[in-house]
């Protein structure tokens, strides 16, 4: 078990380094090869050639590729110093550079917005796990009945309706129509109830989509597991049906759900762009959307790396949980 853990951690670390290198190359080197001058894009279209040259020097854009990669890589772990002539800027670790537009350091932007997205993703995940899995299990146990059919029709709706539709609909009904909820986002450290009020609709909207997917996968898996021989064995022992389902069948059903959860959470932590935009949540998704519109490379790069890290961590956690749940994984 320990060896498995160490192996997985090591693989994750290697993967992280590779991701940093590849992502940097994509965002800084591809424009270069494509003939787009990053320095000009930084300064503006009608730029003074001297200013462009100064920026190019300060950002080290004329350095050889591997030096640039190295500086970027070093910046993340120990910080780096930008200098052009007398103009010296020190960027402390973890340094992801400065926004081309606001000239803010990227790292504080990420740390400001990360909790919003994390709260959104985790809260929604709790909701969709509880309701999606419960609906899936009940549908499987009541297969073919009106309950099963209705649950699956609702799930089909959940999977098919886009967030900007369900999100706006929920805003129109609960916030503007019934006036139950003030849709404004309030940071958690200012007011817990305010935060809850701002998050509840995004959670429900996001969870509706995912709960639908989870209900479908849970139902299918549960039906498959219920046909397994070892479920029959559990009944043949004289176990109560609640234990047969709740213990023996659920444990096996959890495996694919966990796999999905790892991937979905990882991807969502990188920013739920549609949900955040619909509900004006100042999260990573919104930040990256703005950055893309403004060709703000360092922000895009920063968010991309955070997303990758989140996916990596989520998968690591899932792999470890996998080994806890399924003893057969521990061997391989």
């Amino acid at each position: 078990m320990l060896a498995y853990l160490i192996r997985r951690l090591f693989a994750a670390a290697v993967m992280l380094v590779v991701i940093i290198l590849v992502v940097f190359s994509i965002f800084f080197l591809v424009p270069k090869w494509a003939g787009v001058d990053i320095a000009t894009s930084f300064v503006g279209k009608q730029a003074d050639p001297h200013a462009v040259a100064a920026v190019r020097e300060k950002l080290g854009l004329s350095d050889p590729i591997f030096i640039q990669v190295w500086h970027f890589f070093k910046g993340i772990f120990v910080g780096r110093t930008y200098s052009a002539g007398g103009d010296v800027t020190h960027c402390a670790a973890p340094c992801f550079g400065y926004s081309f537009r606001s000239e803010q350091s990227v790292w504080p932007v990420l740390t400001d917005r990360f909790p919003v997205t994390l709260g959104l993703a985790l809260g929604a995940a709790v909701l969709w796990l509880v309701f999606g899995v419960a609906a899936g299990v009940l549908s499987a146990l009541k297969r073919g009945t009106i309950w099963d059919r209705s649950a699956m029709v609702i799930a089909l709706g959940g999977v098919s309706l886009p967030i900007y539709f369900t999100g706006l609909l929920s805003l129109a009904i609960f916030s503007y129509g019934l006036n139950w909820i003030n849709g404004q986002y309030v940071p958690l450290d200012q007011s817990f109830s305010g935060w809850l009020g701002g998050m509840i609709l995004p959670w429900i909207t996001l969870a509706f989509l995912y709960a639908a997917m989870y209900a479908r996968i849970t139902r299918a898996t549960m039906l498959e597991i219920l046909g397994e021989d070892y479920i029959r064995t559990a009944r043949a022992k004289g176990l109560k049906e609640q234990v047969v389902i709740g213990k023996h069948a659920m444990r096996s059903t959890m495996t694919p759900i966990l796999t999905m959860l790892g991937m979905d959470l990882g991807a969502l932590i990188g920013g739920a762009i549609l949900t955040e935009t619909t509900f004006s949540l100042p999260g990573l998704g919104q930040a990256v959307l703005t950055a893309i519109k403004n060709q703000d490379l360092p922000i895009i790069l920063g968010v991309t790396l955070i997303t990758s890290l989140a996916v990596l961590l989520a998968n690591l956690v899932v792999d470890i949980l996998y080994a806890v749940i399924d003893p057969r994984v521990r061997l391989s």
């Binding site: 297969r143 009945t145 219920l226 070892y230 064995t233 022992k237 399924d326 003893p327 057969r328």
Partner: protein, 365 residues
């Protein structure tokens, strides 16, 4: 126990519905039907037999003859855990030690499962939960029916693993099923089935998934354990070699019904049903030299939705045209006595069958 049961009548006479049987297990006119989109699947269609403690009944027949459905029916596993609209339709009577199971409270039957009656399944790899240790699964089986702490139950599990011949049982108790070999898994499965000293043990194809050398060991084990615990055993198999090894009595099933049953000796050496002849002819024998090719039973098993009218075996029976008036295709033959405690359901005359067996079939085997 009565004088009669002591004398070991494992197969009782076919009985009409009359309560309180004397036999330990008595099945009367059991029917298990499954509704499907294509029609009603009559997996078991009127089966009766009885079994005493300490005796072994072998149920043989090809795939889809209703063997496993019968055993699951006795265990009450068709009704337990049935979800959705489609439910198995079960009728008849199953008397176990004076209790009729089909009309009993399902929770009462659940409490008998695993304790008074238990089951060994065909494929121990798929029949054991892959995520729990062997020990945990045996401990669970024990603690459902015994109010003991985990430590005591674990000691019991180790004891049982030792009893079924698993080396280093105190270590292997913490192994997972995938860490066991096929034979070891089946031993563990047997240990789990016997942990509560059941009075009725149903072994559903206990050796089919195992290789031949292990098969013999497992059969020996079942026989030894039966002697030790004095349980009634039902062995379900398509392998006549297995029943020859274990059974006191044999019940041959075809198309969800019993076509022949009687003491093992008689069914083997004086079979009185053409289907039994077919089964014996298709069995490889190593004790005979220079055997000609095996003789398969022609055709394929009957559809359980449209069971052939008359005798279910008539489309495959080489002697179907012998009885007069096309009776094999119109009238369903009832079980009739052909010897001491020996019944067969066939339209052929008794003497006719004796003659065909001694003159045509037996010499070729």
């Amino acid at each position: 126990m009565t004088e009669l049961s002591k004398s070991g009548a494992a197969v009782g006479e076919p009985t009409d519905a009359s309560p309180a049987p004397t036999a330990f297990l008595e099945v009367r006119d059991l029917k298990v039907h499954f509704p499907t989109d294509d029609g009603l699947v009559k997996s078991v269609d009127g089966l009766s037999f009885s079994l005493e403690k300490g005796k072994t009944l072998g149920i043989v027949g090809e795939s889809g003859s209703g063997k496993s459905v019968t055993s699951l029916g006795i265990m009450g596993l068709h009704t337990a855990g049935q979800y959705g609209k489609r439910k198995a339709q079960i009728s008849g009577e199953i008397w176990l030690d004076g209790t009729e199971l089909l009309s009993a409270d399902p929770d009462h039957v659940r409490k008998l499962r695993g304790r008074q009656m238990s089951m060994i399944f065909q494929d121990p790899l798929s029949a054991l939960h892959p995520y729990y240790t062997i020990g945990a699964q045996i401990v669970e089986a024990y603690r459902i029916h015994h109010d003991v702490d985990k430590k005591t139950a674990r000691r019991r599990a180790v004891e049982m693993l030792d009893r079924v011949g698993i080396p280093q049982p105190d270590k292997r108790v913490d192994s997972y099923p995938h860490e066991f070999s096929g034979g070891m898994r089946q031993r563990a499965m047997i240990a789990m089935s016997l942990v509560n000293n059941p009075e009725l043990l149903i072994a559903d194809e206990p050796t089919t998934a195992l290789d031949v050398t292990v098969q013999a060991q497992i059969l020996d084990l079942i026989r030894d354990l039966q002697k030790e615990f004095g349980s009634a055993v039902i062995v379900i198999t398509h392998d006549l070699g297995v029943v020859a090894e274990l059974a006191d009595d044999i019940l041959v099933m075809y198309g969800g019904r019993c076509v022949e049953r009687g003491p093992a000796e008689d069914v083997f050496y004086q079979p009185r049903h053409p289907y039994t002849w077919g089964l014996l002819g298709s069995m490889p024998r190593l004790d005979r030299e220079q055997q000609d090719r095996l003789i398969p039973v022609k055709g394929s098993p009957p559809s359980l939705i449209n069971i052939p009218s008359g005798c279910a075996f008539n489309p495959r029976c080489p002697y179907a045209d012998l009885p007069k008036d096309n009776v094999t295709r119109t009238v369903r033959p009832e079980l009739a006595e052909v010897g001491t405690r020996h019944w067969a359901a066939c339209h052929l005359g008794k003497e006719q069958r004796e003659r065909i067996w001694t003159e045509e079939i037996a010499p070729k085997l």
